[in-house]
């Protein structure tokens, strides 16, 4: 049996993090398909998904062979690097010192780059468009796989893990973004990406603290529930930093605009 808060944390964090990644990949696939048609977009996407599937099939069973403490340590430290990086950037964006992630701008940039190449009448344009979609899906897909592994490695009381539950969260995000994208047929710029990254950065950092501690033989009070406590600590720090610095930095940004 798994405690409900842990299950909700794992599935919810996997879902939210995957939405962010899939929206980013979707924006580039859409730019490729609008400029060069669906063919290179579909071929690039399918090739990347095939490569990701091969990676999961090869590396999945290897993970089972790694001693639990080594796995917890490796995943813990990578999750901390990944989660605290997202959280730091989300805090800086909320303060107003770095620009928000803009799907419309990314879409325009990718579309313009492909249109410029089209004007040069390059013979390998189809190839370049396909590779653009391939690279976007591969990188964002790797991030999704990493997040699923990091969150799904949570041990259940019967010695199992929550990889399937985390995968379901990611799959639900994929289905949701594809349905929304099919209806909207333009970049999903209304997705509150910074808020999602903020929330997921907090959860990944909390999981990272938990894993690294477990790998050192630390028995956290409340076991899995301590993850929620760590999340609250990171949330409090982020909120305090944003409230402290946003007035000062948004004022200087406005002054700079005049």
């Amino acid at each position: 049996m798994t405690q409900l808060p842990t299950l909700v944390s794992v599935v919810g964090s996997s879902f939210l993090a995957s939405i962010v990644e899939i929206v980013e990949a979707f924006t580039i696939i859409l730019a490729v398909s609008i400029v060069r048609g669906w063919r290179p977009a579909i071929i690039g996407t399918a090739a990347a998904l095939a490569l990701l599937a091969v990676a999961v099939v090869i590396f999945g069973p290897i993970l089972e062979l790694v001693p639990i403490h080594a796995l917890q340590f490796t995943i813990g430290i990578l999750t901390l690097l990944f989660g605290l990086r997202w959280l730091r950037k989300a805090i800086l964006r909320s303060i107003g010192v770095i620009a928000m992630h803009d799907e419309d701008a990314i879409f325009t940039k990718e579309a313009n780059a492909l249109t410029a190449l089209e004007r040069q009448k390059l013979s390998q344009l189809e190839w370049i468009a396909g590779m653009t979609a391939f690279k976007a899906v591969l990188l964002e897909g790797l991030e999704v796989i990493f997040i699923v592994i990091a969150l799904g490695s949570t041990r259940t009381s019967d010695g199992g893990n929550l990889i399937w539950e985390a995968s379901l969260g990611a799959l639900a995000a994929c289905v949701l973004v594809l349905i929304a994208g099919a209806f909207v047929h333009k970049p999903l710029s209304t997705v509150p990406e910074n808020t999602l990254k903020y929330a997921v950065g907090i959860m990944l950092s909390a999981f990272g603290v938990f894993w690294t501690g477990e790998s050192f033989g630390i028995e956290w009070p409340g076991a899995d529930l301590s993850i929620i406590g760590f999340g609250l600590i990171f949330f409090a720090i982020g909120t305090t930093l944003v409230n402290m610095y946003r007035p000062r930095y948004s004022k200087s940004a406005m002054a700079g605009a005049h």
């Binding site: 340590f73 813990g76 430290i77 990578l78 901390l80 690097l81 990944f82 605290l84 990086r85 959280l87 730091r88 950037k89 805090i91 800086l92 303060i95 010192v97 590779m131 690279k135 591969l138 990188l139 790797l142 991030e143 990493f146 950092s205 990272g208 603290v209 690294t212 501690g213 790998s215 050192f216 033989g217 630390i218 028995e219 956290w220 760590f230 600590i233 990171f234 720090i237 930093l241 610095y245 930095y249 200087s252």
Partner: protein
């Protein structure tokens, strides 16, 4: 192309060098001290719970100062 993908992969984990080095140094430091049994688990846990948020705060403030 492969070089670009590799650089972006590394970038997933390492963006701000200070943040990355500080996290790795703290975790490995506590790991070594725990392995040698110089500190007990409670101190190790406290080190992570206090140290990692402190690194986040330092990383944000450092960036704000640099931008300012």
């Amino acid at each position: 192309m492969i070089k670009g993908i590799w650089a972006e992969l590394v970038g997933l984990f390492v963006d701000d060098e200070f943040l990355a080095i500080a996290i790795v140094a703290l975790v490995i430091g506590i790991g070594v001290l725990r392995y040698l049994e110089i500190i007990d688990p409670v101190i190790g846990g406290a080190g992570l719970v206090i140290g990692l948020p402190a690194i986040l705060i330092a990383g944000v403030i450092r960036t704000l100062r640099r931008i300012h």
